[in-house]
Amino acid sequence: MNTPERDREDGDGSLILVVDDEPPITRALGAALGARGYKTAIANNGEQALKLAALQDPAAVILDLGLPDLDGIEVLRRIRGWSEVPVIVLTAEGAEDRKVRALDDGADDYVTKPFSTPELLARLRVALRHRRRGGQVELDSPVHEVGDLRIDVAHRTVEVEGRAVELTPKEFAFLALLARHAGKVLTHRMILQEVWGPEYGTESEYLRVYASQLRKKLAEDPSRPRLITEPGVGYRLIARN
């Protein structure tokens, strides 16, 4: 997906805290992160993770939710009590409710085990980039470019490969929200509350309708989609390459 040269650019010696109780996984991730210029700290349980997160001030945390001592979501909540450090959670297949809970409780993204390392690193880079830009600047930016997609918030226009696309206000708001967080998964609840209003949260069927309309208008190629459905969790907008 990404070249190693590109990965190494991203590393620049930042410290990544890897939390997993399986030594083979932490060894594998340690090697992969090291090869891309990151430094790593390893924690095998929740208590150790909290201690290292506080003492070493990592640039990001990769957190397995199945820990022997504390629930991973509890670890996430406690970290969020004092830190905005990007957290990517590792979860088991089929635990959609856990993923949603982790995201709603402040995780930046999730990766399902067994995962591909390049994919995990791509998610890590997105989370680090969002955090580095401090969020606010990006949120206020009037134009978002995601691959061949250009969304001008000020003029409310959308272009796909240079071609203008007409969107309804809700479709526009939905797409603009995803574009503002390009590469990150947003849960159904996050999208509903942002686009429809704070009294919404469970009406994920609205999103299915709008997502399907958006895909038609953006002329999505199902084999190379930009708007990704994360089943049972939410949506993600990625750059089509």
């Binding site: 399986e22 594998a28 067994p114 995962f115």
Partner: protein, 384 residues
């Protein structure tokens, strides 16, 4: 009598009451006739009021009224002059007769009201008793169902735990394998030693998967009752040596010290199954022995059985958990195991007619898992 009468149906009770009333009128009349000239009209009247009451009591209003009617007739015919006719000549007698009739009829019908009330009260009492018995039965039934439900829930919980445990254990080595292979496929530049280490990890995890799958297959054979050891003469020394070679990577961080007596007899066992027991016990011992520690394997003969023991340097198994560890899916404190291994060991050892247990080591540190298998019985054809 009261109880038996109460059990009769209403028409039968009425008939019985009627018969009793008429009989009593007749029975009372006979002696009264003898003394008719010696007593006043009051005596027969008083005596003849009784049949109506009794008939009413037994057979209800109709029986009572008919008996009272019979008594009035008899009183008039037999005890009020002129005898043998219904005529009444004396005013006193007429008043007496009318009064008697009124009293007899009212008493006979009042008796039924009282009897009905008593019967109704008795019926209510019986109903209440029956209801409370019914309630008690329901309560017991409910209790039984709740016990049954609990048992079913336990089975369901165990099944869920199995699924969780197995999927976690299958996925964990897969996660490492996928993480490393996807990383290498991505062309990440590693130095030779890191690359070797990563490839070794893939190998280790693949073997771990293999052992887990072997355990799962055995478990399903055990559960379906299809575990039939293919018994042959097995050399334990060979089994341990071969096992040590195969488990080389698992034993990377610990030392395996096997001290088997040179004159250890062969045992009667299924080689593959016995190998699985040893593998699971050694794997369990590695899990509980700190890096750099030593695992000992010992063997001795006693009572026609060979006892093989695997001794670790972990924290030991508390006496209260020593039976429990052989139950399926009881993984100890955050261990990297499906909790299947020891249960499979137990099933296999017992299928060979041996037993398996855990106790303290001689020094008091770590656990000593031991099992027995029968010494090989030389076949007759082999001896001749």
């Amino acid at each position: 009598m009261d109880v038996s009468v109460a059990n009769l149906s209403k028409p039968r009770r009425r008939l019985l009451g009627l018969l009793a009333g008429l009989l009593l009128v007749a029975v009372a009349t006979a002696p009264l006739l003898h003394v008719r000239s010696e007593v006043t009209g009051v005596t027969p009247a008083l005596v003849l009021i009784l049949p109506g009451i009794i008939a009413g009591f037994i057979g209800g209003r109709v029986a009572g009224l008919v008996s009272a009617g019979a008594a009035v007739l008899v009183l008039d015919l037999m005890f009020i002059e002129p005898y043998g006719t219904l005529d009444v000549h004396v005013t006193d007698d007429l008043v007496a007769l009318i009064t008697f009739a009124a009293v007899a009829f009212s008493v006979a019908s009042l008796v039924e009201v009282a009897t009905d009330r008593r019967r109704a009260a008795e019926q209510r009492a019986a109903q209440i008793l029956a209801l409370s018995e019914e309630k008690e039965r329901f309560r017991r039934e409910q209790e039984r169902l709740s016990v049954e439900k609990q048992a079913l829930e336990q089975i369901e919980d165990a099944r869920r735990a199995l699924l969780r445990s197995v999927s976690h254990d299958l996925r964990t080595p897969l996660a490492t394998i996928r993480a490393i292979t996807s990383d290498l496929r991505d062309g990440t530049a590693y130095d030779a030693s890191t690359r070797d280490e990563l490839l070794d990890l893939v190998g280790d995890e693949a073997e771990r998967l293999d052992r887990l799958v072997a355990n799962l297959l055995s478990m399903s054979r055990i559960e379906s009752g299809a575990l039939h050891p293919d018994v042959q003469a097995v050399d334990l020394d060979e089994l341990v040596t071969e096992g040590r070679r195969r488990l080389g990577r698992v034993l990377r961080d610990v030392k395996l010290d096997a001290v088997l007596p040179a004159d250890l007899p062969l045992v009667d066992a299924d080689y593959t199954l016995l190998d699985q027991v040893l593998t699971n016990l050694v794997e369990n011992a590695v899990r509980h022995t700190p890096p750099g520690g030593t695992i000992r394997v010992e063997a001795a003969v006693a009572d026609g059985m060979v006892e093989l023991a695997v001794i670790d340097q972990g924290s030991g198994v508390p006496p209260s958990e020593r039976d429990w560890v052989f139950e399926p899916f009881n993984r100890g404190d955050a261990s990297r195991s499906s909790g299947l291994g020891l249960a499979i060991c137990k099933a296999i050892v017992e299928a060979h007619g041996g037993r398996i247990w855990v106790d303290d080591t001689a020094g008091g540190h770590g656990a000593r898992f031991a099992f027995t298998v029968p010494v090989h019985q030389a076949r007759i054809e082999a001896a001749t």
